[in-house]
């Protein structure tokens, strides 16, 4: 169980990145959604023991992370949003090095795990090549491999599918869902679909605070019967935006498709649709902007 209690973090006295974030996260996949600049990466880094918070606490398995970070690090797997690698080292060697750093000292066990992870991330064939020469997707796969070293009980992945092609993204999703059974996997992203596909529970972080959190199905169910959709020309769409709470406007075959939140049907031509997680997301963001 991961408990985040009222975390606050301000950078250089001006930028308030976290304004009192509290969450409780249990086993399984948990999605953290939020726009760019919401504070997601700050929160991820803080949980991953990379930087301290100004106040608040994080409790993992009953132990405070700030007081004994090493206890968490022994069970942590972290895939940062951006990372580099030591130049000139092969995937096998670098992964082996990190395995040692993470506490796998037995040579045979370590070699086995390195091989297994490289196979799982489909990097086995290029295991002798330098990681610094990998393409973006390969590097991301390497990142997840090193995050899975050892026996992690908390896996944090920060914007993992940015830059992956659809095939890689699928593979990645499959990999994540496999490990998600007995382990807390914290998925931080701004891609709503990823959360929708993988995570039963989620929270929305915007402007440094948690705007909404809960079980995805339940959150979507709250919007049942209140989401309406219609396709119309652009100028009409613009007029509608001024009058109604439009959740999103997308393009569809040259025309604009509006999704609107309303208790009753707004107008002729709108049809009721099932709420998606995206609707939940946009509705949450809209409510902040309106100052709720």
């Amino acid at each position: 169980m991961l408990e985040i209690k009222n975390l606050q973090k301000t950078y250089a006295g001006k930028v308030e990145a976290l304004k009192g974030v509290s969450l409780e996260i249990g086993k399984g996949m948990f999605g953290l959604l939020g726009p760019n600049g919401a504070g997601k990466s700050t929160l991820m880094r803080t949980i991953a023991t990379l930087q301290p918070a100004d106040s608040g606490d994080i409790i993992f398995d009953g132990q405070s992370v700030f007081e004994s970070p090493d206890a968490l690090r022994a069970k942590l797997g972290y895939l940062p949003q951006e990372f580099g690698v030591y130049p000139g080292m092969s995937a096998e060697a670098l992964l082996g090095h990190f395995a040692i750093l993470k506490g796998i000292t037995d040579k045979q066990i370590r070699q086995d795990q390195v091989a297994a992870l490289l196979q799982q991330t489909n990097l086995y064939e290029v295991r002798k090549r330098a990681v610094s020469g990998f393409s973006g997707g390969m590097r991301q796969r390497f990142g997840i491999a090193q995050a899975l070293l050892g026996d992690p009980k908390l896996v944090i992945v920060d914007e993992p599918t940015a830059g992956l092609d659809p095939e890689e993204r699928n593979r990645f999703h499959n990999l994540l869902s496999e490990i998600g059974e007995n382990v807390i996997v914290l998925l931080s992203t701004h891609i709503v679909e990823d959360v929708e596909d993988l995570c039963p529970r989620m929270a929305i972080l915007a402007g440094g605070t948690i705007v909404q959190s809960g079980i995805c199905r339940e959150l979507m169910a709250e919007l049942d019967g209140r989401i309406w959709q219609k396709t119309m020309p652009k100028t009409d769409a613009q007029n509608w935006e001024a009058e109604y709470q439009v959740l999103s406007r997308t393009l569809f075959a040259g025309q604009h498709r509006l999704r609107v939140l309303s208790e009753v049907i707004p107008e002729d031509g709108f049809e009721a649709v099932s709420p998606t997680l995206e609707d939940v997301y946009f509705q949450a963001l809209a409510s902040i902007r309106n100052g709720d």
Binding site: A48, P52, Y78, G103, T105, Q119, R129
Partner: protein, 1197 residues
């Protein structure tokens, strides 16, 4: 468009803090530069053009680094900030982009450097009318120097650094190239004999000319033009564009253009992706499917060690298998290899050395190793500490359980491998040099000692650099901080701001030296104390380093703002231990240095000397008794670095008045057991200097005698009492008097000489030494001499495996209680310059007439002993026959350790030779110019007559006394060389001396004096003196000169009456015709330069195979004053011409008698000469001997 690009570049550079810091730094340096130049009395103006050129020239050396920094910023920033693809997909023409960046760097560098001459100008303007001498302020001078010296250098540096940045693509490349440029500069400066290179000896004129052209900074070209300039010239002449200067500047401008062209061609986007090549694939093997199984991490001590070791291995691989390190390593090898071969070369003053281990190690172990080691560590620490951040691995690493302590240990261990690598490679090179020369005496202990004495300090440096990097929280600021702290260690920086105590010199051990005979023995206590201090200090600082090691995303000081230091038990304990060690070792050092050793800052010393002089200085005007007999009992304990001496001085009143008070000053601090004059009481005692004023119960009447007894104990710790003239150490003990023993009267050596320092300390200015003639008026005869002559006797005891030596005959030698005893007694009175030595000596004997000759040496130095003995014998024979009887029964040549810092030294009946000069010169070397063994031994042996038998009048009261000592010794050595090797070889040596004279007068800051009034100027008493006496020999004949010298001996030495240079002149007058006296005077009493030059006008073959030669002689005969102003004077010859055949033999000699100027000469010869030499016998002081020789080939060219 171009204007806008350029504006962007300029603002890009100017916006940075570093620009303003650079401006400030250069301005400040310019402002304060001249105040750092010595506290010496000088006639040179502070804004003399020569001074301005030198200052700006030295500063221009730093332009290379400025250009490196700026060029990197301009040309590497695309890749660094990853805007390459943005910038290069715009429509801007490539050349515009290049020129805007290039000009940006050039203009900014020029601007930053401009701050320096501006600062210098401001300093001069502020000093006008003050205490420092200023001349008229000419802004044009600054403009000229800036334009001719600085601007081309800036252009060249910018061009080279641009090329480097574009090809190297890495910041480090620029700094590597910068260092290579410096090495090149120092090589040329060395060859040219630039005054900025201590100890440089210029090579042949061709090499010098090339070196001057090849100097990228133009300085060597300037020094070549300005060498030998007098004070007047240095104060007024700006350099002009002579052919060397033009060639130099044009050459480097062309290089700059070439570099710019190459850079322009290369300029382009750097899109190298560093992808691994596709063909480097992995074997297609049976893929063994391994299922993924989570494995629990086991964190405990085994893991901690294992993971730390993994990180050490990785860090070593990153540090040492990288291009920067390869460059560093090459630089190191390139830097020290020439040094080692240098000892196998000859120079003016030394022959090739045997490649002994000590000689080779000394070439780099105390200067280059600490310097390069420190510089490299500063750089590598920057790489090492910030590796995770720059590779952006920090987030991955931060999530692992690795502790900062482990990171620290891995980096520290890896860095410590650098000194290991440097030392091992140096040892390998030393070993190779020795093998290549067929030398087998390897001295492995000295090799291993290098790891200890050279390596351990660098380990302390590594700790400091790591600390600085972490605290400064950035690579470049960390390097800057390290450089500042450790540059303080180099001494100059710290001293300027008053941090003089040796403990402020980070990671250095004061006075660390070693010698072949003694090893590091005398420094051991100091070394271990200081290393314990610095290592534990490093350990203490490392607690901070570890705590704030960059991990995760918080870097360095950033962390200070978050949670404060957490005190774990382990940290507390290690903190206490480290602090305890620092405190105790530091306390021990301070105790030994300040309390026991009486360390004083420079100002305290000054104040002490001033006090001493004010209190006791008046004794130099009072009558003091002279020493007539010295008897000592000296017990040496070299192993304990201790000695005890019991002494008895017999003092006689040789003045005409009664003496009431006697001043005794002890030159070397000792524990005083007893200091006593019979029937006298101590009325004044200064404990700091250890000086006593004894008031006699009854005044000592003329010719009465009185006895002084003393008992002293010495213990040499090495903290403050290391001294060249005093060593108490196994196999190398040396006590040189009279400085270290009780002195009667006020020692002039302790009187402050520098007038600025006297003023600062409140002492009245010293009156200039009166002219010799004035001083002699009213002087009492016999004149006071440099030394008293005494009956000398001593009993020395030392370790059972050592032999002790002192002046005089060995009366008896015995062993007692496991120690060796030696009793020496002089058969005739000797000068009071006792020298006591003790080492594991072996001796070689010979005999000349009644004189017993001995050479004493240690085992490893036996090879040259026979040569030294033979040289000594030859000289004694010559001097005995020509000057007068040898004043003694025994003459010893003794090997002393290099700690004494002497080349050769003459004590009564003995001569000391350093283990690393005469004893180490390779007597089998074939390419030797002059046999330096023979020369040095001849010179020092001659001193037995000149200086000891013949004592000069006190050289602090009478000018010219040193002529009787050093000039006559030079003469003796020249005659010995000529008899053994012939005049052609000897004149090569004379040429060196003449060059030294001309260079020396170009560096003197005081007006030049004529030889007979010399006080202490080396370039006069040695060099001009040698030329003078040789000219006397040419004009008067060797026999006549020797007769004059014999006259000096008979009249003044045998009678123990100190003589002056005028007495020498008298003797020379006596043995020469009246009409030669003006010639003698021109050399001794005036400064006369006679530039003779010879030209071949025509050569014709006559009917009967005879050759008709038409030559013309030009004469420029000048009399000069001390400042360098000259007047043409009448020249009345004679001049000699030598005609040489192909074998170099003189087949015809012609003397031109008439007073002549611009004379044409026709001569008919039997055969064609290959060359004609004007004034071949060095009768005249000719500033340019190149134009005295005309080479004639078959066509008459």
């Amino acid at each position: 468009m171009f204007g806008k690009l350029l504006r962007f570049e300029l603002s890009f550079h100017i916006r940075k803090k570093s620009f303003w810091l650079g401006l400030l730094a250069f301005g400040a340096i310019g402002l304060f530069f001249s105040t750092t130049q010595g506290r010496v009395d000088t006639e040179i103006l502070i804004n003399a053009p020569s001074v301005l050129v030198t200052q700006m020239g030295i500063l221009s050396l730093s332009i290379v680094f400025v250009a490196a920094f700026l060029a990197n910023a301009a040309f590497l920033r695309d890749g660094q900030y990853r805007v390459t693809q943005l910038v290069w997909s715009t429509p801007i023409p490539r050349s515009l982009l290049f020129w805007s960046r290039f000009l940006g760097v050039f203009l900014v560098a020029s601007l930053v450097f401009l701050a320096a001459p501006v600062g210098m100008l401001v300093d001069v303007l502020l000093s006008v009318g003050g205490s420092r001498k200023t001349g008229p302020v000419e802004v044009f001078h600054y403009v000229w120097i800036y334009g001719v010296l600085a601007l081309p250098t800036i252009l060249f540096s910018t061009a080279v650094m641009t090329v480097t940045a574009l090809f190297g693509r890495h910041q480090v490349a620029a700094y590597t190239v910068a260092i290579a440029l410096y090495l090149g500069y120092f090589a040329t400066a060395f060859l040219v004999g630039s005054p900025m290179m201590a100890g440089s000896n210029p090579a042949s004129p061709d090499v010098i000319a090339w070196a001057a052209i090849l100097d990228p900074f133009g300085l060597s070209a300037y020094f070549e033009q300005a060498k030998g300039w007098t004070i007047v010239e240095r104060n007024s002449l700006l350099f002009d564009l002579d052919h060397i200067m033009i060639k130099n500047r044009v050459l480097w401008l062309l290089f700059a253009l070439l570099a710019i062209t190459v850079a322009l061609l290369r300029f382009g986007p750097d899109l190298s992706t560093k992808r691994a090549p596709a063909n480097k694939t992995d074997e297609i093997i049976e893929v063994r499917q391994v299922p993924y199984q989570p494995t629990r991490s086991v964190l405990g001590w085994p893991w901690a060690i294992h993971s730390t070791w993994a990180m050490i291995r990785m860090e070593i691989s990153f540090l040492f298998r990288s291009w920067p390190f390869a460059a560093i390593f090459v630089l190191w090898c390139v830097a020290i290899t020439p040094e080692m071969f240098a000892i196998l070369q000859q120079s003016d003053y030394s022959n090739p050395h045997y490649p002994t281990t000590q000689a080779l190690l000394d070439r780099f172990q105390f200067d280059m190793l600490p310097f390069f080691g420190t510089a490299f560590l500063i750089f590598l620490a920057g790489e090492s500490v910030w590796r995770e951040k720059s590779d952006r691995v920090n987030q991955l690493l931060g999530a692992t359980p690795i502790k900062p302590l482990q990171l620290f240990v891995s980096r520290f261990v890896a860095l410590s491998c650098l000194p290991l690598i440097l030392i091992s490679s140096a040892i390998f090179l030393v070993f190779s040099v020795q093998l290549s020369q067929g030398w087998s005496d390897f001295q492995p202990a000295s090799y291993l000692a290098l790891y200890l004495y050279g390596g351990v300090p660098l380990i302390a440096v590594a700790l400091i650099t790591l600390f600085c990097q972490v605290v400064a929280s950035g690579r470049y600021s960390g390097m800057a901080l390290s450089a500042i702290l450790l540059a303080g260690a180099a001494g100059t920086l710290g001293t300027r701001i008053g941090l003089e105590h040796p403990l402020f010199r980070i990671a250095t051990v004061p006075g660390l030296t070693s010698s072949g005979m003694t090893g590091f023995d005398q420094n051991n206590m100091v070394f271990f104390s200081y290393m314990l201090f610095w290592l534990s200090m490093g350990g203490l600082l490392s607690l901070v380093t570890i705590r704030y090691w960059p991990k995760g995303v918080t870097m360095g000081l950033d962390i200070f703002r978050s949670k404060g230091p957490q005190l774990s038990k382990a940290r507390l304990i290690s903190g206490f231990v480290a602090f305890g060690l620092v405190f105790s070792s530091g306390g021990w050092i301070i105790y030994q240095t300040n309390v026991v050793g009486g360390w004083q800052s420079f100002n305290e010393q000054l104040a002490g000397r001033a006090d001493f002089e004010q209190r006791f200085g008046h004794f130099s005007d009072k009558a003091m008794p002279s020493l007539t007999a010295v008897s000592t009992k000296l017990d040496l304990y070299p192993t304990r670095h201790q000695a005890e001496i019991h002494g008895e001085y017999l003092l006689e009143n040789r003045t005409s008045i009664a003496i009431e008070e006697i001043l005794i000053v002890l030159g070397r601090k000792a524990t005083i057991e007893d200091m006593n004059i019979e029937n006298a009481t101590i009325v004044d005692f200064d404990a700091d200097t250890q000086a006593w004023v004894f008031k006699l119960d009854t005044p000592l009447q003329p010719e009465q005698e009185i006895q002084l007894t003393f008992d002293l104990r010495w213990k040499q710790t090495g903290f403050t009492d290391l001294s060249r003239s005093f060593q108490l150490v196994e196999n190398g003990s040396l006590i040189m008097g009279p400085a270290n023993l009780p002195f009667v009267g006020f020692p002039e050596a302790l009187r402050m000489r520098d007038s600025m320092m006297r003023k600062k300390s409140g002492l009245k200015p010293l009156s200039d030494m009166p002219l010799l003639e004035t001083a002699l008026k009213g002087a009492k005869y016999p004149l006071p001499g440099n030394y008293d002559k005494v009956q000398f006797e001593t009993v020395i005891s030392t370790n059972s495996d050592e032999t002790a030596l002192a002046p005089g005959n060995l009366v008896r030698q015995w062993s007692e209680d496991g120690r060796n005893y030696f009793h020496y007694r002089s058969s005739k009175p000797i000068t009071n310059v006792p020298v006591y030595v003790s080492a594991r000596y072996k001796c070689l004997d010979d005999q000349y007439s009644t004189v017993q000759l001995e050479v004493c040496f240690t085992d490893e130095r036996a090879a040259n002993a026979p040569n030294i003995l033979a040289a000594m014998k030859d000289t004694i024979e010559y001097a005995d026959r020509n000057f007068g009887g040898y004043p003694g029964d025994v003459m010893r040549a003794i090997q002393v350790s290099s700690l004494a810092g002497i080349n050769g030294f003459a004590a009564p009946n003995s001569l000391l030779l350093s283990e690393n000069t005469a004893f180490e010169y390779d007597r089998t070397a074939t390419s030797v110019l002059i046999d330096q063994i023979y020369r040095v031994v001849a010179h020092e042996t001659a001193h037995q007559w000149w200086g000891h038998h013949l004592v000069p009048a006190r050289s602090d009261k009478f000018q010219g006394s040193m002529v009787l000592v050093e000039t006559l010794a030079r003469y003796s050595e020249l005659m010995m060389l000529e008899h053994k090797y012939g005049s052609v070889e000897t004149r090569k040596w004379l040429n060196f001396e003449l060059n030294r004279y001309f260079r020396g007068r170009g560096r003197d800051t005081q007006p030049e004096v004529s030889l007979y009034r010399v006080t202490n100027q080396d370039y006069l008493k040695y060099s001009k003196g040698a030329a003078t006496m040789y000219a006397m020999k040419t004009a008067l004949g060797e026999d006549a000169v020797n007769q004059a010298l014999a006259g000096l001996i008979t009249k003044y030495a045998v009678t123990s009456s100190p003589a002056t240079s005028l007495d020498l002149l008298e003797e020379l007058y006596l043995v020469s015709d009246q009409d030669l006296h003006p010639f003698i005077d021109s050399w001794f009493k005036e400064i006369v330069h006679t530039d003779l030059s010879l030209k071949l006008e025509n050569m014709e073959k006559e009917a009967d195979d005879k050759i008709q030669l038409d030559l013309s002689i030009m004469v420029s005969h000048k009399k000069l004053d001390g400042m360098g102003n000259s007047v043409e004077a009448m020249f009345d010859g004679p001049m000699t011409l030598h005609f040489l055949d192909e074998k170099g033999d003189v087949f015809h000699e012609l003397t031109v008698d008439q007073a002549v100027s611009n004379k044409a000469i026709s001569i008919l010869l039997r055969r064609r000469p290959t060359s004609v030499i004007l004034d071949p016998n060095y009768r005249y002081l000719d500033p340019d001997r190149e134009n005295n020789t005309v080479d004639i080939d078959a066509t008459g060219a």
